[in-house]
């Protein structure tokens, strides 16, 4: 049971990842290239499954792949103090909190827009009006991109 092997589809099912994504991770270098069958099919083992689960979970938590790579390097070196791991996670926590705050401001504005829309004709639609409003121009942005979550 410790020598179980998996096809790429098994890994995909077990981790909720698309097969293409797993192959992409391999090209990217974040997943190691597994051995192949004579016919060229990838054959994975338990450590591959664990690593992929780690990656996917970190991605779900919003870590960019670069951070995931850093975490994996740290995890591969168990004697290192975890200050650095903690730093990455803390930094990310701060980013998540600021993102929540911005999304809530945005939610308020959207909700107000929708509430005020009189469901009449486009001519009087407040949603269009609010969006066209010059005075609102670039007052909401702060984080440089809307990448990450």
């Amino acid at each position: 049971m410790s020598d179980a092997v998996y096809a790429i589809g098994d890994l995909a099912r077990q981790t909720g990842t698309k097969v293409e994504t797993i192959r992409w991770y391999e090209r990217d270098g974040i997943m190691p290239a597994p051995v192949r069958t004579a016919g060229g099919h990838r054959v994975y083992t338990r450590p591959h499954l664990d690593r992929l689960a780690f990656i996917r979970h970190a991605r779900e938590l919003g870590f960019p792949l670069e951070d995931v790579r850093a975490l994996l390097r740290l995890a591969d070196d168990p004697e290192r103090p975890c200050d650095q791991v903690d730093a990455i996670a803390s930094q990310h926590l701060a980013a998540v909190r600021s993102r929540i705050a911005r999304l809530q401001a945005l939610e308020a504005e959207l909700a107000r827009m929708v509430a005020v829309c009189g469901r009449g004709r486009v001519a009087e639609c407040r949603v269009i009006e609010v969006l066209a409003d010059q005075s609102h121009a670039h007052c909401l942005h702060e984080g440089h991109g809307e990448t990450g979550l």
Copy 2:
């Protein structure tokens, strides 16, 4: 004053957009191609400024460009009932709310991770443990991508 003209840089400053982004909007088709000077410089007028402001504001609210295109089409036809405008905005509001909920779940997990990290070695670091934990795998995702904000 109603016949004011703007260089691309003026438009950029007034709307908080990068010059490259404005040119990209033109290639994309969401901004109309303006007239040019003899030397090939773009010359914008007030309607361009208004349209760009509309686009930027909608983008800041997280509407994908496709939605912005739809909203612009609807805005151009003031006699039409605004149900569709309302539908787009409401749908977006719902997406934002679900995203906030997921981010809050994520915040809780990250906060717990950081709190538990005992500042020892990576071997005992719960951050790595939590991220490697199989049982958490793909229990958190719902929205297909983490694009948009």
